[in-house]
Symmetry: C2
DNA sequence: CGACACAGTCGAAGCGCTTCGACGACTATG
DNA sequence: CATAGTCGTCGAAGCGCTTCGACTGTGTCG
């Protein structure tokens, strides 16, 4: 193992000089810098992470807490995780992968052991038990003794965002956008095939916010909106669709939020002789890829997974460097019109 | 921040005693142990990771290198990653998430900075460029100067496994198992819908090995086997299926390896009036969940993602603790019969 | 032309932990 | 009863790095 001292010796300078060449925190003459850099390359030196963390009190590691359950949006999670990892690298950080399993304990462990400099949390619930540990110092509202603030960014939006930095798609606007589109095409009866019931029971923000957006805009536009949670998969979707058409036979518009209900829905509609988009229109909220690869290319609002991962890291790094404070970033949804939506059929 | 020294002071013992209580490397009297543990709890002490890594030369971190591309098997990757993370925690390790992006450099960086104690690599190619850095000391075959061995476990199987520890599903046996099943049901013309062409071009081991298994057993049993790569998604699958039925109209058995071709295939067969399983049988190689949720519950060989993640960690930890050496672990495939396969229809 | 700023370098302290050797107090052994 | 061994504890020496203050030499200004 090559150490700083060996590099220093090889370059005939002191250890501190090598350190300053590496960090750039003091000016170094061009000649010295070159000699040192040459020695570093020649010896294949890599600074020891532990020593660095100990001395500088920064680990250059970001913790990423992913949900343990794999019941939803797995590809989206993965995409976010990968975007986080690659973006972090461009800032010189590595990413530590935590699962939700440990819950708040993980936050405490990582914070107080100095394992990570900051953390990014995915799949935040509306009233997440980890939040108290993360909130910035709010005036007159100290944290429990011995707990210090951990710079953090949430991907998702809890109900109370004070002292928190959050990045998320604007799901309210997303819901509104879907409704707008269908209403503009003349649809009056719209069904919403939502996430699995468990997702609502957990009070996952995005699902509820989408619904709010759908409902409030739907109300404004005078649509008849029917929302049904759906576990996804073929059988569950079949049941959900049957119930919907039973209750509201005139339904001509569908908004689907559960990506694992998308393909089953299309197949079922086909089976029932309802052509897409001639008889019914379908708008999905799902990753681009799912929309494009579906058996009917789907009009959809994309889930900008990469963008969210990138933004989360950028904000966290800004915080770590003392720039920028708490902030809620809501990404504007974009609707892409594809082949699954069209004018509502003429009323009989 | 609470330090070891403060705990020691609080418990009225020396710092080293606290350290030994924590590590258990020397015997401690029950009374002292209790006092120390009490102080630790009371002060909310968490050892500083950097200091620990520096002094002990072990970081208690495992690096997990996931493929950058998200073109295949994303849920499987995610499941493996989560299994790795949770299993690692049970051994007292955390997991560092690396993307394939940096390639061999990431291996070098992590190795020589002491960031991680060992690594797990996913999506290994047959002749992966990272392998030379990982191979154990093979007799008479030293590593380049300055490179030291990094304890590693691969998930996947390269062509040359000398000096390597690998964990994978036995894809050869998997292929054979699929063919066996179809042959036993009387199918003579079997088509294989494989992974995307790019996967074969990269020489990803599992795809080629599955094919070998299919072909060799198919040959023994006298089947007519037709293999076609398929990018997945509806359109690509439609093209692939059309070609297959064009070339071999008598095809009654399908083996599908690309999970994103599964649902499209079922829809397309339905459309062409070929009933599953009455007219054609389908066997899939995919995660359990996909098989169960499909529009026809699929007879399948499951991809044991969790199992692979767990095993990889267990083996790596064993290595790190000096137990066990290089080894290739091939998990035996298991075929679950569901609704998508049945006796071949009588010949006209 | 002396005082002063500043760039460039060094030495040393110290980050919080592990671990080695030492040492006193006991217990077993012949 | 002397000797060896064992158990439980301590002190001190680092691990490899960052960073602070100090020092030297050069250029600048009044």
């Amino acid at each position: 193992m090559v150490t700083l001292a060996e590099v220093a010796q090889h370059a005939r300078v002191s250890a501190s000089t090598v350190s300053y060449v590496l960090s750039g925190k003091r000016s170094i003459s061009a000649g010295t810098r070159e000699r040192v850099e040459h020695s570093i390359r020649e010896l294949g030196y890599h600074p020891n992470a532990g020593a660095r963390a100990l001395a500088s009190n920064r680990s250059n590691i970001i913790a990423l807490m992913v949900p343990l359950r794999t019941d939803m949006y797995v590809p989206v999670m993965m995409e976010i995780a990968i975007a986080v990892a690659t973006t972090a690298r461009t800032h010189g950080y590595d990413v530590l992968l935590l699962t939700g399993e440990e819950g708040p304990d993980a936050v405490r462990r990582v914070t107080s052991s100095g394992l990570a400099d900051g953390m990014i949390l995915m799949d935040v619930e509306l009233d997440d038990e980890r939040l108290p540990l993360l909130r910035g110092g709010v005036a007159g509202q100290g944290r429990p003794v011995g707990e210090q603030e951990q710079p953090a960014v949430l991907i998702g939006l809890p109900s109370d965002t004070t002292g928190l930095t959050c990045v998320d798609l604007d799901f309210r606007a997303t819901g509104a956008l879907c409704v707008d589109h269908l209403a503009a095409l003349g649809h009056r009866d719209v069904a919403v095939i939502g996430e699995a019931p468990a997702v609502y029971e957990r009070h996952t923000g995005f699902a509820e916010r989408t619904l709010q957006g759908l409902r409030s805009r739907g109300g404004e536009l005078g649509l008849r909106l029917l929302h049904r949670p759906c576990a996804g998969g073929y059988d569950a979707t079949a049941v959900t669709l049957a119930r919907i058409l039973d209750e509201r036979p005139d339904t001509t518009g569908f908004v689907v939020q559960n990506e694992s209900a998308v393909e089953p829905l299309l197949a079922l509609l086909r089976q029932r002789g309802r052509a897409v988009p001639e008889d019914v229109s379908v708008v999905a909220i799902c990753p681009e890829q799912v929309a494009v690869q579906a058996s009917v290319a789907l009009t959809s609002v994309a889930l900008p997974a990469q963008e969210m991962g990138r933004r989360a890291v950028d904000h966290l790094v800004a915080k770590l460097e003392g720039r920028g404070g708490d902030e809620v970033v809501l990404l504007a949804p974009e609707l892409t019109i594809r082949a699954s939506s069209g004018p509502a059929p003429a009323r009989p």
